[in-house]
């Protein structure tokens, strides 16, 4: 530094950019000479100058004395910017500052002690856990609450017993809140001390306790949560319901039976309407809607059947609601049947679908009537349900609907006829013949689907020559599925169809036929200019000639890209032998990160040693996702070598997400 006075003056300049650039110019200089200026800049009015100062300080690799001096800045009560900059610098220094931080945790000033704990939480190293545990008993509630909070952040599950104990002994509301939240984050299911459960009695704690129980409680928490279903505050009721559901999901089968029994005892009680009132599929709380839907099924009260139609019609909750309705059983379906005359078309359609899906025999009459409903939506659902119920007497009515149907409706009709053909093929064959002669390509495509169900190779061989590619495609696919080997020649010619979709399906179908003679044309199809055709051909070759496919992949892999490489990798993974995995290993150098990730995934399942061999390069990969996956894969492998590789990579890692993961993994090794 040429002129300290000039720097000092520049730092007083009103020009923010000048102050920032002066600090930047100090980068790389002896910290002893410039520390004064950097510390000054850390307290600058401008956040840009402060950030520059923090970066310059950290980049200088400060020794112990400088870190001690830095921590002294935390005592400045007048300049919050300075304190925050100092804290930021300490967090960036990480474990280099651990000794000084630990010392600071015993400072006489509670504000400084809290800052020290906050920085420990920011660094997130398990080495701080003993200090934080000790600080749970700090006389200052802000400090003890911060200690609890950061124990949750660091995620050391060993802290659970002491946190539980501290909540019992520490009566400060603020502390208990922080500690209960921390327990929620740690999420290790275990019996929860009675003293804590009793906190539910204090209304202020009820929600946070339920949240906490949902996170860490086991089945023993059930009684308290059941009581929570009728809690005075809605937020507490919701928390109790969600917590119960979480516990139910994670506990072992015997305990789950026990919890389910306790829920079933609620059937017929006044709890059920209160429960139903919490069901809000359009609300923001997805977890609540899921929990209520699921638990209503477990309770099995038929009164829930109609309200469960709402989640059934909500895509996200639909399968959960279906399970719930299935669990409620015929009584629920009876309730729906009673409701049917009062429902709108959307709900009527949903009920028809449910009657079909759940095999509700008493609903057959209603399904038959619904085939004549004025609403196409209801008729469509009824058609589908009639198929599922196997109502072959409805075939004429269903066929009668074909004329007026739109594409979606027609799809439902054809699906139904496909099922019903197994019961009565004659009328279905008649309609298939009629459709095959239609001028409309979509009708001819439908006929291909029906002939496929009827296993009619003769008609399919005619439709495979249709002028419309969608008809050819459907017929080719059907020939493959039905394994009509006499039509192999037709499939081979379909490999040169002008429509890539037909070629792709032909390549798949040839694999399904299982005749090794198809390998030669499939080899030629590997040169197709459409990658989906190439992929289908490769998969079929793998089916027909597994002994040949390694050689094929070896030839393809060096020039393959995208989808084809993915298929090559899938084939190699299915082979899983040493030679195949050797080829997978070559993909680790590929420029496409998705391919590298897939190769990593395969190797981690089959031969992790190959990842260890490439660890150094992979952990320095420019794509953070690869570094992340490599770290996970390495952590799953035994041995000091993997640990050393992770530790070395952690020092260089700049991505927060990857660094956090690496920290956790290295800690796991320890």
């Amino acid at each position: 530094m040429d002129n300290p006075e000039k720097v000092r003056n520049a730092l007083k300049s009103p020009d923010e950019e000048l102050r920032r650039s002066v600090i930047d110019s100090l980068r790389g200089q002896d910290l002893g000479d410039v520390c004064e200026f950097i510390f000054t800049a850390m307290g600058d009015d401008s956040w840009r100058v402060r950030k520059e100062a923090v970066n310059v300080f950290v980049a200088a690799g400060p020794s112990g004395d400088f870190i001690t001096a830095l921590l002294e800045l935390l005592r400045d009560e007048d300049n919050a910017g300075l304190r925050n900059s100092a804290a930021e610098a300490v967090i960036m220094l990480g474990m280099q500052a651990s000794r000084q931080l630990k010392a600071l945790a015993g400072d006489t000033d509670p504000g400084v002690r809290k800052f020290a704990l906050d920085m420990m939480g920011g660094i997130g190293n398990a080495e701080f856990v003993p200090v934080l545990l000790a600080a749970l008993h700090d006389p200052d509630v802000n400090v003890s609450a911060a200690a609890a909070e950061h124990l949750g952040t660091i995620g050391d599950t060993g802290a659970v017993p002491e946190l539980l104990a501290a909540i019992v002994t520490h009566e400060e509301v603020f502390f208990r809140f922080s500690a209960l939240s921390a327990l929620g984050k740690l999420g290790i299911p275990a019996p929860v001390p009675e003293e804590i459960k009793q906190l539910v009695g204090q209304e202020i704690f009820s929600k946070v306790i339920y949240d906490c129980l949902g996170s860490i409680g086991d089945h023993t928490a059930a009684p308290i949560l059941l009581e929570g279903f009728l809690a005075g505050r809605k937020s507490a009721r919701c928390a109790a319901v969600k917590a119960f559901n979480r516990i139910l999901q994670r506990c072992a089968p015997p305990e789950r039976r026990e919890l389910s029994d306790s829920l079933r005892r609620l059937s017929g009680s006044e709890v059920v309407p209160a429960f139903i009132a919490l069901l809000d599929v359009e609300g923001k709380d997805n977890a609540l809607a899921e929990a209520v839907t699921n638990l209503l099924g477990v309770i099995g009260d038929a009164r829930a059947a109609v309200p469960l139609l709402a989640p059934y019609l909500t895509e996200r909750l639909s399968s959960l609601a279906l399970n719930a309705l299935a669990a409620i059983g015929p009584a629920g379906m009876d309730a729906l049947r009673g409701f049917y005359p009062h429902a709108d078309e959307k709900l009527c359609g949903a009920m028809c679908t449910l009657f079909g899906e759940l095999g509700y025999q008493a609903g057959d009459g209603l399904i038959r009537e619904a085939l004549h409903d004025p609403s196409p939506l209801v008729r469509r659902a009824a058609v589908k349900a009639a198929g599922q119920r196997g109502l072959s007497d409805c075939i004429p009515e269903i066929i009668g609907l074909l004329g007026e149907a739109d594409s979606e409706f027609r799809g439902a009709i054809i699906s139904s006829l496909q099922i019903l053909a197994r019961k009565d093929s004659v009328p279905v064959r008649a309609v298939a013949c009629r459709l095959a002669d239609s001028e409309q390509p979509q009708h001819r495509r439908d006929s291909a689907l029906l002939f496929a169900t009827l296993s009619d190779g003769g008609y399919l061989s005619r439709l495979v020559k249709d002028e419309d590619p969608s008809v050819r495609q459907a017929s080719v696919a059907a020939i493959g599925k039905l394994q009509i080997s006499s039509l192999q020649g037709i499939l081979q010619i379909a490999l040169v169809d002008e429509t890539p979709d037909v070629r792709m399906v032909a390549a798949e179908a040839l694999g399904e036929l299982g005749n090794a003679e198809a390998v030669a044309p499939l080899m030629l199809a590997l040169r197709d200019d459409d990658s989906r055709v190439q992929c289908a051909a490769l998969k079929s070759i793998a089916r027909l000639a597994p002994e040949e496919v390694l050689k094929v992949v070896r030839t393809l892999l060096p020039t393959a890209r995208g989808l084809l490489t993915i298929t090559c990798l899938e084939v190699l993974a299915s082979l899983g032998n040493d030679a195949a995995l050797g080829l997978v290993e070559t993909v680790l150098t590929n420029g496409d990160e998705e391919l590298v990730k897939l190769a990593l995934n395969i190797l981690s399942r089959h031969d992790g040693e190959r990842i260890v061999r490439n660890a150094e390069r992979l952990l320095a990969h420019p794509y953070a996702g690869i570094r992340y996956d490599t770290a996970v894969a390495l952590a799953a492998l035994p041995g000091q070598k993997t640990r050393a590789a992770l530790k070395a990579a952690l020092k260089k890692e700049e991505n927060n997400l990857v660094r956090d993961l690496m920290k956790r993994l290295v800690k796991g090794f320890a």
């Binding site: 020559k465 002028e467 040169v496 169809d497 002008e498 030629l524 199809a525 040169r527």
Partner: protein, 292 residues
């Protein structure tokens, strides 16, 4: 701004050469210098459809655009003339039914092989492969044989027509009534080939310059390629005819148009003198003294 192309947009000589060479390298169809007007006329609509200002831009489109392959397909529809009809060149068809098929039947059944694979290359709207099917239908000795007739063409537009199998008067200029009665029925827009004939024929897309796809069709007993290689220059003819040779079984036949010959193209085939016509044949391997 949408540019409208004035009719008669001129094609410069270098543009003509560039476009012509692109088409040639795609499919072997060669336009000599006298064809400049034809190319200019037929491609004018493509310029208009693509909103291009001139043929230089069109050439760049064919060369660099990501849709260039599709465009090349599309102009095949525009550039290839597809005029054909049922039972065309009857003297050659007589040689086919009366002499070649009986010979093939005799040779193949002697080997215990009762299959027949016939390829109609450049089949246009399908009259030729359906003609072949109708003729074979009338040969009683072929009953019980597995017959495959494959029609291919480079133009996607004509393939749709061929698969549909509906024809108007122009396709029947030399067709006997008895054939029309037996193998066609009336439908909207014309006469449709009956299902039993359509079942014998598979229509597919093929660029004769695409060797891989050609190989995928498998071995043939007989190839009709009439009035197709007239569009090719000598090098392209050589290439395609040699690929035909590879596609034929030993002893298989290649039937070209009446004005076409393999003189100066290849010596791979022998010319057989039949009663009704002269036909090229791939020699039997034994006759060539080849190994197994």
């Amino acid at each position: 701004m949408t540019l409208s192309l004035e009719p008669g947009q001129p094609m410069a000589d270098d543009e003509f050469r560039n476009i012509r060479d692109s088409i040639y390298s795609h499919c072997g169809i060669y336009f000599d210098d006298d064809s400049k007007y034809l190319l200019e006329k037929r491609l004018a609509r493509r310029l208009s459809a693509l909103n291009l200002n001139n043929y230089r831009e069109y050439y760049h489109f064919l060369k660099y655009d990501r849709n260039k392959d599709q465009e090349m397909m599309d102009i095949m529809d525009v550039l290839t003339t597809n005029e054909t009809y049922f039972f065309r060149e009857s003297f050659q068809l007589a040689a086919f039914t009366d002499e070649i098929i009986p010979e093939l039947m005799s040779v193949k059944s002697g080997r215990g092989d009762r299959t027949l694979r016939i390829w109609s290359a450049g089949c246009s709207t399908g009259e030729e492969p359906y003609t072949i099917a109708m003729l074979l239908k009338d040969i009683p000795g072929l009953r019980g044989w597995k017959i495959e007739i494959i029609g291919t063409d480079i133009s996607q537009r004509v393939l749709q027509h061929a698969r549909r199998g509906v024809y108007t008067k122009a396709s029947f200029r030399v067709t006997e009534d008895s054939y029309i009665k037996r193998f066609f029925y009336e439908c909207d827009g014309g006469l449709k080939v009956t299902d039993d004939i359509r079942e014998m024929v598979t229509i597919s897309h093929l660029n004769l310059f695409d060797k891989t796809r050609m190989m995928m069709l498998g071995k043939m007993d007989l190839i009709f390629c009439r009035n197709v290689i007239i569009y090719f220059d000598l090098a392209a003819k050589k290439r395609v005819v040699e690929d035909f040779h590879r596609s034929l079984n030993d002893g298989g036949f290649l039937l070209l148009g009446h004005s076409e010959s393999l003189m100066n193209v290849t010596t791979l085939f022998t010319l057989r003198h039949f009663k009704n016509d002269m036909i090229y044949q791939k020699p039997e391997r034994a006759a060539l003294g080849g190994g197994p």
